[in-house]
Amino acid sequence: MTLPSLMLASVLAAASGDAAGHGSLADAPIVAATAAPELAWVGWVLALPALSAVACVLLAMLRVRNKLPAAATVLALGGAFALILKLYLSRGPNAAPVIVHLWDWMNFGWGGGDWKSFQADVSLYIDSLTLLWMLFVTGLGTLIALFASEYMESERGPGYARFFFGVSIFLLAMACLVMADNLVLLYLGWEGVGLASYLLIGFYYRKPSAVAAAKKAFIMNRVGDLGLAVGIWLIWVNYGTVEYGELFQKLAVGGSDQGGWDRSLIPFCLMLGAFGKSAQLPLFTWLPDAMEGPTPVSALIHAATMVTAGVYLIARMQPLFMLHPDAMTTVAWVGGITALVSATIGMAQYDIKRVFAYSTVSQLGYMFMGLGVGTAFGAAYHVFTHAFFKALLFLTAGAVMHGFAGQLDLRRLSGVRKVPGFGIVSWTMLVGCLWLAAFPYSAGFFSKDLILVQAMSKPQFQILGWLSLATAALTAYYTFRVWFRVCAGPVSYVPGEEAHGDHGHDDHGSQHHDDHGHAFHPHPPRLAMNGVLLLICLGAILAGIPGIQALRGQHNWVQEMVYASTAVRAAGVDHVTTPVAFGMDPHKVVSVFGIAASLGGIAIALWLHLLDRRMADRIRTALLSNGLTRWLPVAMENKWYFDEIYHALFRLPLWVASHLLHFFDRHFIDGVLVNGVGRVPTVLGRLFQPLYNGALQGYATTMAGGVILVLAWVAWRWLGAGGAA
């Protein structure tokens, strides 16, 4: 037993003791939110991105070709960050929640009392969970926008403004999502970030694959949104309100089971929304495709912030989820399995961004598992650390892509570390990789540890814990597979074809192609990109401070913030002192096996991808040549055929049914029914047509016949009447 792991185990025990102390809070009523009109200035957090979006539109209309859109956006986002920081500093980590009403939105009533009104206003619910999220959302947003100001410079002109318009809209929507005081405004933000994601994934809109990816992201998210919407309706039916303040108070006393649908369905509906937005099984396939967008977007939206919205939703609705243990179990299992499945896919990808995309799905799985097994702190802390190191990884990948003309294939890049000007990129990427691989004492290690310990402590989740330890080893392996391939080793590279679209202008394109023909010079990142990389790297390192504070037995602010919010309900930790394996308690098991998994994964990657690179191919060939194991690499490289299965199960039947319906509509409803009815007069006319043969006598005969018939009828009636009388 190594000394560090012992230290860690003891400290973590102390930390969980701390958690247990807070655990008693779980039964305490949630602090009621108070209205705080004096905080109306927080509204500027929404207004600033909105203003910068408007500014970007105006600049595009003025056909500005300089970097003003970026400047406006960075300033606005920086301003929003400053405001959030001010709010945080003035309120401290565990202040009671307040509500800031901005203006009425969907708000109407039909009489007094519960259920007689519907209130969903544009107002903000500010508690520590909100602040925690907003701090890293606005902070990273500002930094990534700054990074993008250089990264996107080849797009200067309308495209540049469009990009920063998208970023501004995203921050606006994300702020709505996180700061909303009701579920409908959250839904607005929820769809708003979906829109921003749609616009930015499809940024290089001339590429059909980008357009398809954008559409896929929006539609898969809509599937989740449907769940969220149903959840909102169910909440209103059962509790008569969609506002957090009132809802949390009502949850304490219990709602009324109204209608045909049980309220135990609520968490499952909300969960569907969360899984859609956060790319969990079964709705995760859009996220890897979303890498078609510019890399800063992947870093900001599809790694650090937007995809954590699902985690936020469940953490926010924790009081509701805690009422339904089954729901929590489901969240845990879905998270754990998603983590494993996407890690296996990530192992077999060759596109750097795709590897990182699958790692995002996998890490999000950890977060959901953390929520499910009952440590909202662990989940939120993992969100926090992950935001930094994953943004860092994407930005470094972007810098490589930027420098090597869009090359992202890790088989075609090697030794980037030694290419002049790529030092900062390589070393910050190493930090990101170590953190993602949960290298001992990195921030990623602390946060992942918290989740695993909690899973191990609960007997029903122990299998999940072991599964996640295996996933951790896979994570370390595929992460360092990238780094050892790309940054280490001898220098050799093949420049990309620009076709990845990062330089979208026609006029530039041909020039660049000529360049490649002669001699390719990688262009290294300059001040803005390198500076941002260093800053985020610093952030990633500092994100470990709460973990170190915990190491020293001190309070740490992330924990305080989480426990001061509604997520406090999840704080109960089961104390399992009985050994779970090899005579060790959960803490020890996790630290020992966690460190082993991390180092083991890195070691295997070192061997296969740096020391003996041909070995990886040999293993792959060996697996492929054996009939029994053949399926494994094939399935992994083809992403377990999820896209194909969805296509066959949903899209294809829908497509066939749509065509059938269209046929039915045109030829039966319109053709047979409508035109058929329309033809009735014509058909009747044709029936009597022989009478109108044009011969004068024919008409006369018809007429005489008619008269005789009428006379006969009259006579018959008359005689009949006479007979009756």
Partner: protein, 547 residues
Amino acid sequence: MSHPLVMLLIPVVGAAATAVGPARWARWTAFLFTLAAFGVSVVHAAQFPEWHSGRFWPAVDEGAPLAAFGVHMQLGCDSVSLLLLLLTTFMMPLTIAGSFSAVSEREREYYAWFQLLEAGILLAFLSRDFIVFYLGYEFTLVPMYFLISIWGGQQRRTAAIKFFIFTFLGSIFTLAAALYVAARQAEATGTWNFALASMVDFASTQLTGREQFWVFLGLMAGFAIKTPIFPVHSWLPLAHDQAPTGGSVILAAVLLKLGTYGVYRIALPMAPAGGVETATFFGVLGILAIIATAMICWVQTDAKKLIAYSSVSHMGFVIMGLFAFNPVGLQGSVMYMISHGLSTGALFLCIGMIYERFHTKEMDQMSGLARHMPVWACFMVLFTLASLGLPGLNGFVGEFLCLMGTFVAEHDQPAGYPGVMGPWFAVVAAAGLILGAMYLLILLGKIVWGPLKVPGASADPHEHAHGDQGHGHLPRDLNFREIAILVPIALACLGTGLYPRLLLDVTEPSVRETLADYPARVNEFNAERGLKNPTLGGPVAAAEARP
């Protein structure tokens, strides 16, 4: 003269002026007159005292009743009809301005018919008498018939005839049902009276459930075709496809609302028992409309037809909201009527602008127009997003409330407004959210995004003859006039989406008037099925004591 009468006369006078004036002034005459009508309607709205009461204003008779027939030329509106009226007068000048470059033949007739169309619509929204309503409602067919059959596409004759006969056939049933009610009333009171208020009072209280059932079905026959509800919608795609842009815009933005307005104002209050009894039926039809037509949209290749079918799908949401029988659903449907008018009207305008330039609406023939016409692309994306119900834009509020209203339309709904549909209806209908995103994003993906492909000039001589000779004058991207048409609609979309309270507040009293009879009726209906609302009294109340 009161504002309503002025509002009615302006388009009539305008039509006459346009028809006799010189052809080169026709467009501006029409524009100024419709603008004046909009101005008067805004003044009327500003002076309208009954925004928050659900009453009608002005309440005076404009003329003597037509002797012996009980028909009153009584004009006035409540908040809901005033909102729809504002929508009409708002869209009219924009539509006329949108036709400036699209119509170059027989301009005087075109603009004159347009203003007569406006007069008909306004008459329907303003009338407080069934016969006067019916006059306006049916009169709209005439201008629309000529607009389609003269300035339409290749199959314009068929489209115009189908449009006319189909909707006319339905309206006959509506008239018959109303005449039956009036006759029963005359039988009971000795006088004929077609005033809506008295017909509603009589029918909802004096007619038996059986009678109300048939009266409701009769009324719905016309309104369902006009709306249109799923199986009787087939005139709409053809009419939209063949109509000139301006005709499509008004058809989608306003004419369809006559159907749902009829349901809201006449059918629902007049025969509540019938409404309750058929709610499930119409709910299923609404779902069919939402799902089936969305799927049909998905396989369209013609952009205009796609939007036409999407109208059917969207009106399904309105129907769901109307048959939810609670304020949430009804206010949702009123919101949706207005927002559908804005966003779908604008989408037709956008497609029309493309058609004027390229003489095609086939989505396969164009692609990546964002590069070719960025300003147009911005508007197209905005209105598409509004149409697919993105929160923050207009479509969302109505859609969300319609579905939520349906969701809570259950027998023991605690809001005091029980319903007969319930969660499953809403959840199935909400699949329309996904399908809606699918077909609208395909529209965007094919036209706006993708590699640039600009269609060549159409080889079809007919389209040249009936299209525009102004094609040569149009710049590549939108010109100032076109931008000035779309900007007000965009602002209205954004305003409605961000501050719907303005509309929600004023529609609420009117909605409660419409729903006055429903809670009790629904409760009776549900009690027959063994279900009852505890808050309204009944056997379930005791069994289910809430904590």
